[in-house]
């Protein structure tokens, strides 16, 4: 159905919405979404740091030097730095 009536004033003239709290914030839904984002980043950092450690260790073994002497790629160092478990 088409309705071309003049646009109604919207601000301060919201309809009564029975049972809907207009001023509420979606804390639960947004919180769950953010939890997933943070959890996913944590998983990626953990596995990324694991992979980085392995790569650095392999290069160290191949060169016959200690891991601290190996110069890692920027992303390898970053992931190992970001992960508290590696």
């Amino acid at each position: 159905m088409k309705a071309d009536a003049p646009i109604q004033p919207l601000d301060g003239n919201s309809p009564e919405l029975d049972g809907f709290e207009i001023k509420r914030r979606p804390m639960l839904g947004f919180g769950l979404l953010m939890s997933s984002v943070i959890g996913t980043l944590a998983v990626l950092i953990y596995f990324g740091a694991w992979a980085s450690s392995d790569r650095i260790e392999n290069r160290a073994q191949a060169a016959g030097i200690s891991e601290t002497q190996v110069e890692g790629e920027w992303w390898e160092d970053g992931l190992v730095f970001a992960c508290p478990l590696h």
Binding site: M1, K2, A3, D4, A5, P6, I7, Q8, L10, S14, P15, E16, L17, D18, G19, F20, I22, R24, R25, P26, M27, L28, G29, F30, L32, L33, S36, G39, T40, V43, L44, F47, W50, A51, D54
Partner: protein, 455 residues
């Protein structure tokens, strides 16, 4: 045609339903749009070897184009949904068709890897969103009732169509080469889209018809005009304030990570356990075929029962089912897994339109659905990366299986925390459903409405 459909209705004693309704034409068009739009995405794997041979690019750098396309599609989805609401699905899909043609032609002439990234990754990625996001809300607009049935049929065609087209594309790639194949797909696909979009109508009102399942005492819905635009904008502002809006993005993301890990990893996992490549591919085919049943049933049951319950069971089953893979080491084990897991997997993603309808009523769902597909797209991209990453680190797929289960089970937990679906979240919204005679410029009264299912 209409007489034949009416004869079919009489012959099979359809009372509440009829096949003589334009809504089914819209569902069929949605199926073809998906087939054309998604085919070249599904067939990307066929493209890798020819490009390696022709240009010497590494498979990893070619795969980056696919990852880029997936992410661009996901990020464009909210915009595509909004465009569908604001300008109508038909115009939005027409823009998507133009980009589809440009993307295909440019990809066919690619000489440098950056061209592949721009043409396939970005141009084709945006065209995917413009073609595939607005079509679901447009189908929903054609169903006043029985949206679950319409969604179910559409989802079946979305599953079977690409599976058939991919086989045809594989033959095309092998016979005329990748460059010619892209040109052929671009020209034939664009032609097909142009023709079917001529028959596409955004809303029943555009076609001078009434939505499927409209009853004589239903108030007519506002579907266009100034009031519609302003009301839709304000309504969407309230949608953003609901927990369900954000949680559904989250749930779609978690579910897609959960099954993308399996869909991408099942063939290499099977091969690593001693299955031949063809046998391993057969496991994936079995999943595709078996999942068709619940792709159809999940939205239908969601409408009849509780969509929360159907979605919870699907997510929970998808999460628990993957543990079968931890002990699978024979062909039989893998095929048992394929059958058992495909049932919840098929129902995992198809009930979302019904759930949105339950929560937000008959307001256009383009923007809301577009945001959900952002979550889904990012989930598919992440889930696609996990198996390879885990294998590179650990030399096996056990952690990938555990992660898949964890994401699906977290999704099922998030579903439990969704609001009850018995009541709309934004109740008594007074302007989206008007009583006859209250809308200036309206020329439709409920007296014109037909019984349920009538056209």
């Amino acid at each position: 045609m209409r007489n034949a459909a009416l004869w079919f209705d009489r012959k099979f004693g359809l009372e509440e339903h009829t096949i003589a309704h334009y809504a089914w034409v819209i569902v069929a068009i949605a199926g073809v749009v998906q087939m054309v739009g998604a085919a070249i995405r599904m067939a990307f794997g066929v493209l890798v070897d020819p490009l390696v041979e022709a240009f010497g690019w590494s498979p990893g750098s070619i795969g980056l184009a696919y990852a880029l396309m997936s992410i661009v599609t996901a990020l464009s989805s909210p915009m595509a949904g909004w465009l569908g609401n604001r300008f109508g699905a038909r115009r939005t899909m027409t823009a998507g068709t133009v980009l589809f043609f440009i993307g295909m032609m440019w990809t066919s002439q690619t000489k440098e890897i950056w061209e592949l990234y721009v043409a396939y990754g970005i141009v084709f990625g945006v065209s995917q969103a413009l073609l595939l996001v607005p079509v679901v809300p447009a189908v929903a607009a054609w169903f006043r009732r029985h949206l679950g049935l319409g969604t179910g049929i559409m989802m079946v065609s979305w599953s079977l169509g690409p599976a058939l087209v991919v086989q045809a594309l594989a033959v095309l790639f092998a016979t005329v080469g990748w460059s010619q194949a892209f040109m052929v797909v671009g020209i034939v696909g664009t032609g097909t889209l142009i023709v079917i979009l001529l028959f596409f109508k955004n809303t029943p009102e555009d076609a001078g018809k009434i939505a499927y399942g409209t009853k004589a005492d239903d108030n007519p819905l506002i579907t266009s005009g100034n009031v519609f635009v302003s009301t839709q904008k304000e309504f969407q502002g309230y949608v953003y304030k609901t927990n369900a809006f954000w949680n559904l993005i989250n749930i779609h993301f978690l579910g897609c990570v959960g099954h993308a890990v399996i869909l991408v990893g099942i063939i290499p996992l099977g091969i690593s356990k001693g299955l031949g490549p063809l046998t391993a591919a057969g496991v994936l085919t079995t999943i595709s075929i078996v999942s068709v049943s619940t792709r159809f049933l999940a939205p239908v049951l969601s409408e009849k029962m509780s969509p929360k319950a159907v979605m919870f069971l699907s997510f929970f089953g998808q999460g628990v089912g993957v543990f079968l893979l931890l002990t699978a080491d024979s062909t039989l084990d893998f095929y048992i897994f394929a059958v058992v897991w495909a049932i919840p997997y098929g129902g995992e993603g198809t009930a979302f339109p019904v759930l949105i309808r339950k929560y937000f009523g008959h307001t256009p769902m383009g923007t809301t659905y577009g945001w959900q597909l952002l979550g889904a797209g990012l989930g598919m991209a992440l889930g696609g990366v996990i198996p390879g990453m885990v294998f590179d680190i650990t030399g096996g797929y056990t952690w990938a299986i555990i992660l898949s289960a964890a994401f699906s089970l977290m999704g099922s937990l998030a579903i439990v925390l969704l609001e009850n679906t018995r009541k709309q979240l934004i109740p008594n919204w007074p302007e989206m459903e008007q009583k006859p005679g209250e809308i200036p410029g309206s020329d439709l009264t409920t007296a014109e409405a037909r019984p349920a299912g009538g056209d």
